[in-house]
């Protein structure tokens, strides 16, 4: 392999690769990047066997070929090169990286040992706008569990609907749900790919895709893989082979209290109360009154506080308590300014919605506290 690339092109994309290279990685080979020069592009691939990422960079190919180099040092070197042409030239078991004033040589591994990230893209599920992917998926993914003990909850459900699809994620304490309207959903083969349970990790990577344009989502049912691809980047992840829990029953259908408030103010209030809730399992209490809500917390040995947030109440006055962690998570992952809270008694799940958009819903289990 002998190729020439521009260092800034390399630098722009190489950081994404880093996400799948774990510092404490088990197998030496997984701490390597596969470099492939072909068809006018340099392809960089890395994987942790769970999620794989491949990025393409325009390059001048003098000789095609591929090689495997140590990831950490390679990335660090590339990031410290001046912006100029970089030449990569591989020999039998080394790679020479030369730029304006520097020349480095890497030991390389046999490239055949590196796992193939995917053998075929599989069926196209949908083409989705990158903005939608970033904004809307982000509102859901954070609710997925990271505990591998319950595989089904580590996934995000992608369910086909009439004009798009439905996203659902839950960790059994909270649940996020979003209807996404999008064109370009492949509606051939009704029944096939109607429901996909996608590993939340790969989605977390997918929402970081930065380039302009659309993202195509592919699924290979044979390999149980899901692939997110734009022109330059391909992210490969797993479908989870488990049944997503039946969430329909727990979506509250009615409420006795409805409260409209400003997200940022509430966010601040919960943050402040959170200080006094740290020692008591993060319990923050809410007393909804006619034109405001009182957010409060106390820890016996530390002290207590209360913050008032203005808002508009419909229905009865009532109280409820939540784990502040879940609320903060929610407030940081949504952008809407005007939020609506609905509840039916302090022991039933509380529901957060957007005032101007009813396609989204976030449900949090309350904490039972002594009055």
């Amino acid at each position: 392999m002998h190729i020439q690339v521009l260092s800034e092109n390399l630098q722009k994309r190489i950081s994404l690769i880093q996400h799948v290279i774990s510092s404490k990685s088990q197998l030496p080979i997984l701490q390597h990047i596969l470099l492939e020069g072909k068809e006018g592009r340099l392809l960089l691939s890395a994987t942790d066997l769970d999620v794989g990422i491949q990025v393409a960079i325009p390059a001048k190919i003098l000789t095609e070929g591929s090689t495997l180099v140590s990831a950490r040092q390679f990335i660090e070197l590339i990031n410290s090169l001046p912006s100029d042409k970089v030449e990569l030239k591989s020999n039998e078991n080394s790679l020479e990286v030369s730029s304006l004033h520097s020349k480095s040589t890497f030991q390389t591994l046999i490239k055949e040992e590196f796992p193939t990230l995917y053998d075929a893209l599989g069926d196209t599920i949908t083409t989705i706008d990158k903005d939608i992917l970033q904004k809307e998926f982000t509102k859901v993914i954070f609710a997925a569990s990271t505990d591998n003990a319950r595989p089904a909850l580590t996934g995000v459900l992608l369910k086909r609907e009439e004009n798009g699809f439905l996203l659902v994620a839950t960790d059994a304490f909270r649940l996020s749900l979003k209807h996404i309207v999008t064109e370009g959903v492949n509606s051939q083969d009704p029944g096939k790919y109607e429901k996909l349970l996608v590993q939340s990790r790969v989605l977390r990577e997918a929402v970081t895709l930065k380039d302009e344009g659309n993202v195509i989502i592919h699924v290979s049912s044979k390999n149980n893989q899901i692939i997110f691809a734009d022109t330059n980047t391909t992210i490969i992840g797993r479908l989870i082979d488990a049944e997503f829990p039946l969430y329909d029953d727990i979506l509250p259908s009615e409420h006795s209290l409805r409260f409209v408030f400003n997200r940022e103010e509430m966010h601040k209030a919960v943050k402040i109360s959170g200080i006094f809730a740290r020692e008591t399992d993060n319990i923050v209490r809410f007393s909804f009154l006619k034109d405001k809500v009182v957010v409060s917390a106390n820890t016996a040995a530390v002290g207590s506080n209360m913050v008032e947030v203005e808002g508009v109440l419909e229905g009865e006055e009532n109280e409820i308590a939540f784990n502040a962690k879940y609320l903060l998570d929610f407030f940081t992952h949504v952008e809407e300014e005007e939020l609506v809270f609905e509840m039916q008694g302090p022991l039933n799940p509380g529901v957060f919605k957007f005032k101007s958009d009813d396609s989204y819903m976030h449900i949090i289990m309350p904490v039972r506290v002594q009055s």
């Binding site: 066997l49 049944e243 829990p245 039946l246 022991l347 799940p349």
Partner: protein, 448 residues
């Protein structure tokens, strides 16, 4: 079939484990399973195609060799992406989400750990000696965290403290299984604290205890003198009370009498309701016996029960006696008789009260505050002579030693001297006086 495949794969994996490096094994092999074995193709499932690819590339021969060895043949390997968990997991997840709907997730259903299910309120015999404790325990179980918090139960051994505590836990569990109930002895609590400190996992332990709805700690007196454990308990205590969780404690003495217990703790222990259970009275002991006999489905005549209750000292020994009688009656295939009671008690006595002359001498000396050398020596001060004569009397009466033996034991005295001493004490005992009080005190010391 599936089970066979599982065991087969486990065996195969164990041979592979010895051939490949540990990291390789952990990252590549651990999540594999055997999908099927047909004619000459073995299908192996992995969680991701990348893993399948790596196994194919790097370990095909190692796996093939182990598979061939196991199935005694020449097999081809087919590596596919297929998850193993599908069937089992889906069911569980439905359950957990259902519990989500009922507002307390992460429940563990099934039997309550460490709590004996047969110890309930129904199986406890109640009489005046434990009625107060019984009623308060029931009240607490019915109104968790709102009636008496903490409930502190104390009393001597074998009066049913542990039974009551188990009963509270069982009752709560039956009423609302989603509540987090922790039953623990104070020794286990100590161990957990120590373990957590050693593994620097204190936050995990704290979380475990502080999230309980009902915390039951048995034999709390054993945390005396353990400062760090007391501190931990103190914080846990405060948080639980704040959260409205119920705490139940038991001890062999009231909080104020537990030595080396920090003041802030003992005052908190006493902050709720402190109830004591007295040693069971005769009626209760009889009732307990009848209840226990019921449990063993043994027909115990009431006279026998009475005879046993009269003689047994605490409730725990009652069960031992009862069991002995049941066994005897079953082997002899006849109903329980009073003779069996004597028998059972006799065995009891032999086992527990093995008496030696030294015990008597020691106790007499202790009682009169003299040294054994003085007792055995030649001095004939009035006080020492009295002690010496009482020793002679007790050695004769309790151990039935000969006068000569007794004489030798007490510094080589003549057997006539001993006879005189024993007779003198016997004569004095015929009328009530101070000597009889002394002897009672000494025998109490000897027999506990």
């Amino acid at each position: 079939m599936e089970k066979d495949l599982n065991t087969a794969w486990k065996t195969i994996l164990s041979t592979i484990e010895t051939k490949v490096s540990r990291v390789n094994y952990l990252t590549l092999f651990r999540q594999t399973h055997l999908v099927s074995v047909e004619e000459n193709i073995v299908t192996i499932g992995t969680t991701s195609p990348m893993i399948a690819d790596m196994l194919q590339k790097r370990f095909y021969n190692e796996i093939k060799k182990s598979v061939d060895d196991y199935y005694q043949g020449d097999y081809q390997l087919n590596l596919v992406t297929k998850s193993i968990e599908k069937k089992n997991v889906s069911k569980n997840d439905k359950e957990t989400l259902l519990t989500f709907a009922q507002e307390k997730p992460l429940i563990q259903l099934g039997h309550l750990p460490r709590v004996r299910s047969e110890f309930t309120f129904d199986t406890l015999a109640v009489s005046s000696s434990n009625q107060l404790a019984f009623v308060s325990a029931q009240t607490v179980a019915k109104n968790l965290g709102t009636s008496y918090n903490p409930l502190f139960i104390y009393g001597p051994v074998g009066v049913g403290k542990t039974h009551l505590m188990h009963a509270i836990a069982n009752f709560t569990y039956q009423q609302s299984p989603e509540k987090k109930i922790i039953y623990i002895t104070s020794e286990e609590f100590t161990n957990e604290v120590v373990e957590a400190i050693r593994n620097t996992e204190t936050s995990k332990m704290k979380k475990r205890f502080r999230s309980a709805s009902l915390l039951v700690i048995d034999d709390i007196q054993f945390i005396a003198g353990k400062d760090r454990v007391q501190e931990e308990l103190f914080h846990t205590f405060n948080i639980l009370i704040d959260n409205g969780s119920q705490i139940v404690l038991s001890s062999d003495r009231p909080p104020s009498e537990i030595k080396k217990l920090e003041k802030r703790l003992s005052s908190r222990f006493a902050g709720g309701l402190t109830v004591d259970i007295e040693s069971p009275d005769f009626e209760l002991k009889t009732a307990i016996l009848l209840k226990k006999a019921d449990k063993y489905q043994f027909d115990l005549p009431i006279e026998i029960a009475k005879a046993l209750a009269e003689k047994a000292s605490d409730a725990r020994s009652l069960e031992g006696l009862l069991l002995r009688i049941i066994t005897e009656s079953k082997t002899k295939e006849q109903k329980a008789t009073l003779a069996m009671v004597d028998n059972a008690l006799g065995i009891e006595k032999q086992e527990s009260k093995r008496l030696y002359p030294e015990d008597i001498i020691k106790n007499v000396c202790f009682f009169y505050n003299i040294k054994p050398t003085q007792l055995k020596g030649p001095k004939r001060d009035a006080g020492i002579v009295k002690a010496r004569q009482i020793t002679m009397y007790l050695l004769k009466k309790e151990l039935e030693l000969t006068y000569v033996e007794i004489g030798n034991m007490l510094g080589g005295r003549d057997h006539t001297t001993v006879m005189h001493g024993v007779l003198k004490v016997e004569n004095m005992l015929k009328t009530p006086n101070k000597i009889s009080v002394d002897i009672m005190g000494i025998t109490k010391g000897i027999f506990g």
